[in-house]
Amino acid sequence: MNQPSTIEKVKSYLLGPGLQKVIALSALVVLYVFFGIFGANFFSRDTLVSIFDSSYYTGFIAIGLTFVIITSGIDLSVGTVTVGSALIGGVAYNIWGWPIGLCLILVVLVGILFGFFNGLLIGKLGLPPFIATLGTQFMSLGICSVVAQVQTMRYPNIMDDDGWFKTVFFKTKTGFPMGALWLTLFAVLAIVLLNHTKLGRYTFAIGCNEEAVRLSGIHTKNWKILIYTLSGFFAGLSGIIYAATYSAITPQTGNGLEMYAIAACVIGGTSLSGGVGSLVGTMIGVLVINVLKNGLMSMSLPVQWQQFFIGVVVVAAVLLDIIRVKNAGKVKR
């Protein structure tokens, strides 16, 4: 076997499986420069920080979603679970009087619980992921609001007693974006998990051909339960960051967050038909969405234009992917 040179390898990667990432990254740069020129005061540290600030919780749920989508599944509950778990943590803090540290653990546990529930419905009982997680979306929205007695729950602000919570998970007193640090840390861990462990390998394999994986003697059901639980875990983490960012958690919100995360995955080249995807792509996708959001704001356009343009970017990303797959098929017949 002749070994291709490194340059050839890089070239074939960038034009093949890496193309979507290259395109997403170029889109990110183009958008950033575009808004820098046409937006008011866009090239500033404040704007950059604001882009990051709005990226955290979408980023966390998009990490978990990337795993789920690669298995050719979907998790529509992550948005409401993010807010719902933060709400339950807030109940523990405000009403039950738990110490803040314990409350944060509870937030993550609530996320894990909802994820595990999704996993049982999908892995064990064989419900279609779309239906199961749609159900969980409504259930989490409802039950968490009931537990909170439909009251807004407050997390400590920076001047309050447990103010360290905000400086550790959102921003230091000097303004350093801690959320970005946490997101980067967990993204790196997740990349290792997806690309270098059994869980990650089975995630791709299940997305490609679940029956072939089962017939290779692998307990696909249990792995699916684990993957949905992982998605719930990331929704829980997202809940902590969400609480740190906003401090006040309103019941019966959070639906719609998952749509931004799904859009981020798709922009980053993760295929909804499964088997294909990357976390680096997803992270770029999250940034694309938030650059777009902040950029359109800096052009003082009404907020509805954000939604419109995010839609345009999602459709364009999927269209590019379809063209890429078609061309790849043509080359190899």
């Binding site: 076997m1 059994k198 791709f204 072939a212 017939l215 290779s216 003697g217 294909v276 190899k332």
Partner: protein, 506 residues
């Protein structure tokens, strides 16, 4: 065309057809001639260009060089519909029918009615006419999902013939999924079409049936025209030689090398499921046990029971003489059983993943240290199997979907070898694999058996059964109808056993 040749008037001439795909010269000045009302077989190894040539003819590929003369006119079809309306229809190997619609709705899909509203009555009547012509035993209102594969094939042909101008009908491997009985029926219909003056192009891998049905045989190799022969006067080995450019000997095994007292590694006792009726057998160490029978005899189902891919109603499986409780495929794997499905793409491979990922799928535990998959070690292991099994691939990162059928099969074999299973069940191991790669798979199976692996081989090709097996079990209608030592086996004996229970009340 001179008058003396009138009988043999050509309805179609494809001259110097040239098709380039990026990186592949799919057709290289390829020619093909079809006479009026003949049955013309088109053969060649996988990738020889048969499908590409037919796709040019039916308007699927419009980007080609060369000339097509149809009915004495130069034509260039720009779409499938264009070709159909002018008189050329194709029945693809993978049937394209809509499961939840009726026969009539399928036949007239895209041509339902002139106006906006549907009129099922009219298309039902038209369909009834077609069905009557072909004497197919179905109703226009039958749901597609309720029909057998053989019937579906007839529906496809009826659909092709429902275009009033149809002069040429192309059948792409129509018998691949049919039982022998259904094949005989199909051939009758094809001859009827011929009698009506329809020219039929028949693509198949099965040499024996070509001699039965075809008037002439054209061979393609590597995108080029090799030659055309009269089916009546040519010999099958000659055709195969034209296809591969070399001679392949297919000599049956005469005696088994496995001693009759070799230890029994696998024993099935009284297996029962909704389709399997009380099947028992033994597999000995180092043996290749052939499972013969017609399509649908229940051979795959037996193996899926043993592998726990489907639940069994009752029965027992013994490994090395001890009864084992197995419920899921992973239990079968941990007891050393490997199953290589007849449908590699659906049940064996992850087409969009790399060769490496496919091979290590079941053995990741061996390649892990401290929770992480060792890339170097995985590559070493997979490279070892690439050279051992002679897998042809540009790299171990190559996506499996771009490998040929034979190499895909070797990837599946490598996966099971790495999982260290001692009992390998090969279900139709050479289905869809070209002649050259077949003998490589045979060699591989012989080597494995000689190394002490025990093999069960399901095959619908009698020549394959007789060539490979040490012992043969024949199944019919979900039952074991007989067992033959290779020294006493013959095609006739196997066929007799394979048809034993057919026609009996269930």
């Amino acid at each position: 065309m001179s008058d003396t040749n009138k009988v043999f008037q050509d309805i179609l001439q494809m001259k110097d057809i040239d098709v380039m795909f990026p990186g592949v010269h799919a057709l290289n000045r390829c020619s093909f001639t079809l006479r009026n009302g003949e049955i013309h077989a088109l053969v060649g190894e996988n990738g020889a260009g048969k499908s590409t040539l037919m796709k040019v003819l039916t308007g699927i590929y419009t980007d080609y060089e060369g000339e097509i003369i149809f009915n004495n006119q130069t034509v260039r079809f720009n779409s499938v519909k264009d070709a159909q309306l002018k008189g050329i229809s194709i029945v693809h190997q993978e049937l394209n029918l809509l499961n939840h619609l009726t026969v009539a709705q399928n036949i007239f899909i895209g041509r339902e009615s002139e106006g906006f509203f549907l009129n099922d009555k009219i298309i039902n009547e038209k369909t009834n006419e077609l069905i009557g012509q072909f004497r197919i035993n179905i109703k226009p209102t039958d749901k597609i999902s309720s029909l057998s594969v053989g019937k579906l094939q007839m529906v496809e042909i009826a659909r092709a013939m429902s275009y009033p101008n149809t002069k040429i009908l192309i059948l792409d491997e129509p018998t691949a999924a049919l039982s022998d009985k259904e094949t005989v029926e199909l051939f009758e219909k094809i001859r009827e079409l011929k009698a009506k003056g329809i020219a039929v192009i028949f693509i198949s891998h099965r040499m024996a049936e070509l001699k039965k049905i075809a008037d002439r045989i054209t061979v393609l190799r590597d995108g080029e025209y090799v030659g055309t022969a009269e089916a009546g006067s040519c010999e099958i080995p000659n055709i195969i030689r034209m296809m591969v450019g070399r001679t392949i000997l297919q000599e049956p095994k005469t005696a088994s090398a496995v001693l009759p007292d070799a230890p029994v590694v696998l024993e099935a006792r009284n297996l029962v499921s909704p389709v399997i009726k009380d099947v028992s057998f033994q597999l000995r160490k180092g043996e290749i046990l052939g499972f013969a029978g017609l399509v649908g005899a229940g051979r795959t189902e037996v193996m899926r029971l043993i592998f726990c891919a489907d639940p069994k109603a009752s029965g027992e499986v013994l490994i090395n003489g001890k009864p084992v409780k197995m419920k899921l495929p992973q239990d079968a794997v941990s007891n050393g059983i490997g199953y290589l499905s007849e449908d590699r793409k659906r049940f064996g491979l992850m087409l969009r993943l790399s060769l490496l990922d496919n091979v290590i799928l079941g053995s990741i535990d061996k390649l892990i240290s401290r929770g992480l998959i060792r890339g170097k070690k995985s590559q070493e292991v997979v490279n070892h199997y690439i050279s051992e099994l002679k897998i042809k691939t540009p790299s171990l990162r190559q996506l499996v979907q771009f490998l040929s059928g034979g190499n895909q099969q070797k990837v599946v074999v490598a996966k099971w070898l790495l999982m260290d299973t001692d009992i390998l069940i090969f279900d139709e191991p050479t289905r869809g694999i070209d002649v050259g790669a077949k003998s490589e798979i045979y060699d591989l199976m012989n080597t494995l058996a000689a190394e002490g692996k025990s093999i069960i081989m399901i095959s619908s090709e009698l020549s394959e059964i007789l060539r490979m097996s040490d012992r043969i079990i024949v199944m019919s209608e979900g039952r074991k109808s007989g067992e033959l030592a290779i020294s006493e086996a013959s095609q006739e004996k196997i066929m007799e056993l394979a048809t034993q229970f057919i026609g009996e009340a269930h």
